[in-house]
Symmetry: C2
Subunit: 156 residues, 2 copies
Amino acid sequence: MTQLNQITLDSQLCFALYTANKKYNHFYQEALAPFNLTYSQYIALLSLYEQAPMTVKELGNHLNLDSGTLTPLLKRLEKQGWVTRTRSTEDERQMIIDLTKMAQQNQADLYNRVTSCQKLLGLTTDQYQALVVAVDKISDQLDLVDADHLIATVPD
Amino acid sequence: MTQLNQITLDSQLCFALYTANKKYNHFYQEALAPFNLTYSQYIALLSLYEQAPMTVKELGNHLNLDSGTLTPLLKRLEKQGWVTRTRSTEDERQMIIDLTKMAQQNQADLYNRVTSCQKLLGLTTDQYQALVVAVDKISDQLDLVDADHLIATVPD
DNA sequence: TTAGAATAAATTGCGTACAATTTAGCTGAT
DNA sequence: ATCAGCTAAATTGTACGCAATTTATTCTAA
């Protein structure tokens, strides 16, 4: 038997990301508790605070999510009063998502809460930004190695 | 209105991690396709290749997953012939998870496939390990700021 | 003009994740 | 010895995330 145990869980970048992402989810669950928002709902709102209204398609492009995820998520945000969902009159295939007045009124509170919580992380702005750059680099590498390339290149 | 738009999606570490993690999932979905394994099933097997048998509890400690996730996942792995699930005789509360002969026979193939795919990422060993360290550091920071601390420290 | 292709969103189905509860088995203090 | 409390796993319920399909609408080329 050759060296089989070189792949340990703790040495894997995928597992580090998987773990950090889950912990971040937990972190945001607490940060967002006063607003009754999930993390996914929060990033959808973040995107809409940057630009609204947007179609489901456009929002999906920003978040890398498809309608299978967004449709039920947005229905929940609508139910809780954060967004409106309106069929476009000029193209009835499209659903226009916009922020409610309540969402706009809560923007500052939401940002303040998140910012306060983030300060507890104990990272300097430089450290934080360096990490964003490093993690984005992983995403870029993974984009290069997309599914087709991988299937075509590596035999089973 | 003060500077509200300082929180952009692309500047957020959480979103970078969230995105990279999803892309990694997709990457592994292709890498693992020949074995019909999900990413979560794969890391469960990785853990068991390092140490088997294990109870569900022990496995959950390694993976940071609870029985709500592991029980159905392990039942699927059992159904596909990778693991066995046996009630412990000395403590019947515990379920002992062990690798099947098939799982052992496929270990080398699985490792080779994953290793081949990882090479396509175009990261040197040093770069890769540096990223693991960086991402683990995020997890460590998030551990420090746990739920109780956060709730106790930051007013709504 | 109109049938077929393309597109947007919704739906369906499966597999996580995880909080909360339930069930079953163990353990220790009285 | 026994019962209250603890523990392990399973179960329940909710919310993603995504592949695949369906439905409705728009576009486009003959």
